[in-house]
Symmetry: C2
Subunit: 448 residues, 2 copies
């Protein structure tokens, strides 16, 4: 397997977070990670000394699989803090959907650069995005070196145009950026996309082996309303329209109820749920029933949603919030331990976005998406239990290095593929117009 | 008021977080903050150009009052991550209290240096500590330049020795370190200190105008047990023993029940509650009923507890957790907004530790405890609402500068009064012995 002449990158003398065959987290001291052609060649304690390769000294640092954001609307960083202290309904109808009328392609490009900078700086190497003008987003993914699964949001209110545009994008860009971009079909939600369009989506997903990324069962209120109006829960709608017969990424799933679990369990291995607990707390709502989902064998991954609700695109923060909220809602201090949530952040999130066996683990043959976490800060010393240090003491600002497909995107906290001050300067003159709602228009009406 | 010749420090061209007379948070753009003799002289938009003073360029940064940690056991950073995945009862009886048998004065000194480094780096300028070997802790506060209120923990199981030692320390060190150290009497809790000792504490507090810092109503379970055993809630015990007649800082207060509120309301202006929500979530327990306390006029402040349960001493993190958890438990997205929690972090916390009118606000005459927050990172851009940016997007790692009593303790994230690598090296050989519980001894037995 190992051929020193082809090694592009060696990370030496690091503590490597690895997984056993059953998914248990282990830490390998004094490890060397070798990378060739964008993939991990080996993780071992064998020293490496070939002077030809780029070498990163990992002393005092932990190497982990890059974080995976399972549900984001990344360009919404442009609206960070622009829709505060409002109900979910007002957030959509009075703030976000009217503001999104103002978007230009240039805005999306600039905002996407800022979002990629934030994600790279906080250790995210892959994200699943659900938004508009997705071709511009794909361009920025290509330019910044990130990995992403991209789906162009559509509503049935657009007629067939939305579905067609989304499918066209998915077929056009799948596998682009040297394979760093994969694509999905992205119906907005089971209440904004009708059953015909959901069936059409399911069929296209099957025909082209595309992930379907959809908001569903976003809250208990939605589930209650769906039952009242249709006699079906949102997950039952996904089942009855064939969505659950293919590969599916469900955003939020907070309103998943016991009757949904057998349907999801039957789709296990193909279906995942992305959970973004910070934003749920912020609007005073319930969280994703992760314990029930994991018991049903459903993959659960970490997410941030957009920064207009979550205020950050920081998956490390989602990891902490997920552990704390799960312990709180289950009233169980032994549940969702540091090791369990590290499992969700790595294998779980990779499985949820359809990248199981490809990303999410420092294992030979996996993509070389690696982050290094510096534990020399006073808040992470001393280390008695490395998993606890990572989850409960470290924060994303401790990530020194972010690598995607073997390419270093951040070194010693310097971002190498985005010029943040330039992006901030370029976005500044647009802020007033972007947040203007005086035109009285909206991209959509939110029923809940 | 202003006399340029005596100005020791000027912070120029900064956005200053100030308070109106009714406590509302305001942001003053282009502000200059002048400091003399460790106190704030003025906060204004008048430019300052005297070359004799030390000048800090505040462009692109927000100046805030330094954070106040209303309840900590700071040296417990030595046990960070050493007591994970256990119930509260086992955390005490099987882990912490047996481990604390191993403590030496040298351990406390080293751990305290590490704790001060963590607090300074995360923007805390004042902390209220409740621990053992408090004279060593006071030495390190003096050495590192921090401000603190210190109380030497005692139990009635020690006989009179504990009370006497605590009172002796309080009288000896009050006002030391150029006034940066104030002291308190620190009975451990109303269930580990008997009524006679609580009465003695109340009388001594009154006689010497000392704060009484005590764990009380730490959980609903404690309240239930106290009612069952004594027919009184923990707060009723504090009332009946005279503790609430003086200045009192209650740690946690999670088990405060409606019958307690009139007693606390009657003590308003003298009584405060420190809340540390991260650790509560981590053990799957309820949080402090902050809404009820504020309605009763009781001061509420932010806290971290010790790092053996909270895993950090990061008050900025407590600020975020407090807002999110309050929104969640009250199911109210409008409650505990960014501005409200900034009020708790500043005026509320100062009042809770008995420093109202002295610390917690950038106002003339207040101590010059100031932090600068750098908002140039991609995760804090753009800024649509500065309060939201601070609470929901920024993190403690964005604090560039920490100033206590006009002395710069951290500049550009460099710690100036603690050598962290040296402390970590010195503590390392002690870790195995510190966490050894094979001796079978314990400093105390925990009843809950």
């Amino acid at each position: 397997m190992r051929n020193p002449e082809s090694i592009d990158l060696a990370i030496t003398d690091v503590v490597a977070l690895t997984h056993t065959a059953d998914g248990t987290i282990e830490f390998l001291d004094g490890a060397t990670i070798l990378v060739a052609d964008g993939r991990i060649v080996s993780v071992s304690t064998e020293p490496y000394s070939d002077p030809a390769a780029r070498v990163i000294d990992g002393r005092g640092q932990v190497a982990m699989p890059g974080l995976i954001n399972c549900h984001a609307h990344s360009p919404m960083v442009m609206f960070r803090g622009a829709a505060e202290d409002v109900s979910t309904s007002d957030w959509f109808n009075k703030k976000i959907w009217p503001m999104e009328v103002n978007l230009t392609e240039s805005d999306v490009t600039l905002a996407m650069r800022l979002a990629c900078a934030e994600m790279i700086a906080s250790g995210t190497t892959t994200f699943a995005d659900h938004y508009f003008m997705m071709d511009r987003i794909a361009d920025v993914v290509d330019e910044t070196g990130m990995r992403a699964n991209l789906g162009w949001t559509f509503f049935s209110s657009e007629g067939h145009a939305g579905f067609d545009r989304g499918l066209g994008f998915a077929l056009d860009r799948n596998g682009s950026a040297d394979g760093r971009i994969t694509t999905s079909l992205a119906p907005h939600a089971e209440y904004t996309v009708n059953d015909d369009d959901l069936r059409r989506t399911a069929a296209a997903g099957r025909d082209h082996d595309l992930l379907v990324h959809i908001h569903a069962a976003e809250s208990r209120i939605q589930t209650r309303q769906s039952r009242a109006e249709r006699g079906l829960s949102p997950i039952q709608v996904l089942s009855s329209t064939g969505i659950l017969d293919g590969r599916t990424l469900i955003a939020h799933g907070k309103g998943i109820v016991p009757e949904d679990l057998p349907l999801l369990a039957a789709a296990r291995g193909r279906v995942g749920v992305g959970s973004a607990p910070k934003g749920y707390m912020k609007v005073g709502e319930e969280t994703t029933p992760i314990r029930a989902l994991l018991s049903a064998g459903v993959a659960v991954g970490l997410a941030t949603d957009g920064a207009a609700s979550n205020n950050t695109l920081d998956v490390w923060e989602s990891m902490l919030m997920t552990s704390l909220m799960q312990k709180y809602v289950e009233q169980d201090e032994l549940w969702m331990s540091a090791r369990q949530v590290l499992g969700i952040a790595t294998l779980g999130s990779a499985a949820a976005v359809g990248l199981g066996g490809v990303a999410g683990s420092l294992a030979p043959g996996h993509v070389a998406d690696v982050i290094l976490v510096d534990l020399s800060g006073p808040h992470t010393q001393p280390v008695h239990d490395l998993a606890s240090t990572l989850v409960f003491s470290a924060r994303s600002a401790d990530i020194s290095t972010t690598i995607v497909a073997g390419q270093v995107l951040m070194a010693d906290r310097r971002l190498l593929t985005v010029d943040v001050p330039a992006v901030v300067e370029a976005l500044r003159p647009r802020l007033a117009e972007l947040t203007d709602t005086s035109h009285g228009k909206s991209i959509q009406d939110y029923g809940f």
